[in-house]
């Protein structure tokens, strides 16, 4: 791809990245970090591409290792973030249901 196109994408993505998280309460710092962490697990796509290209055993071995690591990053990251956020759910409705459920 054209270098200028890539630089354009890069610069615009930097600004979007800055903008979307500029105001966030400290309560959400941990889930946000964890969610962003899961998003970069999309390197899995890159790992699959290089595994497809692999010709030697060394290349294949390294790319299989990359796929395993990237999958752990991506899948594990989204699951653990969801578990964190589950705790925040239903500050009004959900929680009331839950505590009344406890009493039964």
């Amino acid at each position: 791809m054209d270098l200028i196109a890539i630089v354009t994408i890069f610069v615009l993505a930097v600004f979007v990245g800055f903008e979307v998280v500029s105001k966030v309460s400290s309560t959400l710092h941990t889930p946000l970090m964890s969610g962003a962490n899961a998003i970069h697990g999309v390197i899995l796509v890159g790992a699959i591409i290089v595994a497809d290209h692999s010709e030697t055993n060394l290349e294949l071995g390294l790319s299989v290792a990359a796929i395993v690591l990237a999958t752990i990053n991506m899948v594990g990251g989204f699951v653990v973030t969801d578990r964190m956020l589950e705790m925040f759910k239903g500050k009004s409705g959900g929680r009331a249901n839950q505590s009344s459920g406890d009493k039964k």
Binding site: V14, L28, G35, I39, H53, A66, I67, T71
Partner: protein, 463 residues
């Protein structure tokens, strides 16, 4: 599938990632945001299987290996994420981040092996960047994991000549990076990877325990940038977008975290080298502290009008969230005004304590952030500090040069009475003596937080 459709799918995944980060910034939309991100990542992953790049045909080569590796990754990652104790969650996030950086470095190495001399200079530079930063992120995250898991000391590790060794390693790393770009070849690249791994370890070792979350966040941003560079190497637009988004938002987040802790990023990373060595607290051992019984604590609480509970990591370790809620409910029933004072970094990470208390169904309205609760301490009769130490340590205000100096603290010293529930006199995570423990208005109740709280609840009921 042709390139246009494939790129459009990549674009929609990129949009989902933006919306995911946006959603994650607000409590109400956070969970939806995360799920949207997961959907985006899944779509992007599935699309690769149906896209034949030039000269290749479907199905992908090595398909069995690819699917097997993904299945294995899922089998490792999902149970780890589901079963981890919420208290140990920060180090798991660190570990996930590290393996992501490692994956990016491996991807760049494989692509480099394959391209050999045909790689353009731009691609080689991006490869070098990916390998370097990916390896730093990988080994650095492993060290943060070891620190948070307390498998190694949480204090800053500083050795004689440390800063020269770090500077030399950095210089060597940069030199080998230039070597790769100029000479090309596999050997320089592997030397670069090895030096980067060592640099990652050296870079995190001097960081004190309380600052580790900031470093995790920084390494997270690093990994984002490596993924973006990897995307350039592979000509994959989605990776450039996703990686840059994480790199940029991660940088902002790191700064926000550092601000919440009253630390400068520079001070966090290099503070251990500039701080004056601490004077040994030998005098403190001879001083006496006032330790009380659960009954004493119950009486203090029973006759209070306002109680502020300050939870810390000790509460989380003891799994005492539910007991503390029981205590708070009991006090509320007696007409006592109860609030929780949550320090931004209570626990191990910003927001960690909110997660833990939410798990115990503590009403959200009772959780007060530091700025709200600090002005109310003079009207507070009892500050009940459960397994916290550094976040209430007045040394942060009074002792310039100590590792936490400048960190905003909860002003519990302003309250009428201060009660500490502690396991022992051991200093907190940052390893600093707390003067407040020796204050005449302080009562200490030693023991496991949950056992102590259970006794206090029993004593309160008996009153």
């Amino acid at each position: 599938m042709n390139r246009t459709i494939y790129d459009l799918i990549g674009l929609s995944a990129g949009v989902m990632f933006i919306l995911a980060l946006k959603g994650l910034s607000h409590p109400r939309t956070a969970r939806r945001g995360n799920i949207l991100g997961a959907i985006g990542a899944t779509i992007a992953t599935i699309a690769v299987f149906f896209y034949a790049s030039e000269g290749n045909e479907l199905p992908l080569n090595n398909l069995g290996w690819i699917l097997g590796a993904i299945a294995f990754g899922v089998l490792v990652g999902v149970p780890a994420a589901r079963k981890v104790q919420m208290t140990a969650m920060p180090q798991l996030v660190a570990l996930f981040n590290g393996v992501g950086g490692g994956a990016a470095a491996l991807v760049a190495i494989v692509e480099y092996l394959k391209l050999g001399d045909t790689a353009s200079t731009g691609v080689v530079i991006a490869t070098v960047f990916t390998v370097l930063v990916g390896c730093v992120s990988f080994s650095g995250s492993i060290v943060t994991f070891l620190k948070l898991q307390e498998l190694m000391t949480t204090r800053p590790v500083v050795f004689p000549g440390g800063r020269f060794i770090i500077a030399a390693t950095l210089l060597g790393t940069v030199a080998s990076a230039v070597w790769v770009v100029v000479e090309l070849g596999t050997t320089p690249l592997l030397i670069l990877a090895a030096l980067s791994l060592i640099f990652g370890v050296l870079f995190v070792l001097p960081v004190g325990g309380a600052d580790v979350p900031i470093v995790i966040s920084l390494l997270n941003a690093f990994t984002g940038l490596t993924v973006a560079a990897g995307g350039y190497v592979l000509d994959a637009t989605l990776l450039i977008i996703a990686g840059t988004l994480v790199g940029a938002s991660g940088t902002i987040l790191t700064r926000l975290m550092a601000e919440a802790m009253g630390r400068s990023l520079f001070g966090t990373l290099f503070g251990a080298f500039t701080a004056k060595p601490q004077e040994a607290g030998s005098a403190s051992e001879t001083r006496t502290v006032k330790s009380g019984t659960p009954d004493d604590v119950a009486i203090l609480l029973n006759y209070a009008r306002r109680v502020v509970i300050v939870p810390g990591f000790g509460l989380a370790v003891a799994q005492a969230q539910h007991t503390v809620r029981e205590l708070a409910d009991l006090l509320t029933a007696k007409g006592i005004d109860v609030a929780y004072g949550i320090h931004p970094v209570a626990g191990r990470m910003p927001g960690h304590m909110n997660v833990l208390l939410a798990e115990a169904n503590v009403p959200y309205e009772q959780l007060s952030e530091m700025d709200e609760v600090n002005p109310t301490f003079p009207q507070t009769d009892v500050a009940l500090i459960i397994g916290a130490n550094d976040v209430v340590n007045p040394a942060a205000k009074t002792t310039p040069g100590c590792p936490i100096y400048g960190m905003p603290i909860l002003d519990v010293a302003q309250a009428g009475n201060v009660i500490f529930l502690k396991r022992s006199m051991r200093p907190g995570f940052a390893g600093i003596e707390n003067e407040l423990l020796f204050d005449p208005k302080t009562t200490l109740l030693f023991g496991d937080a949950k056992a102590s709280l259970t006794k206090v609840v029993g004593a309160l009921k008996a009153l």
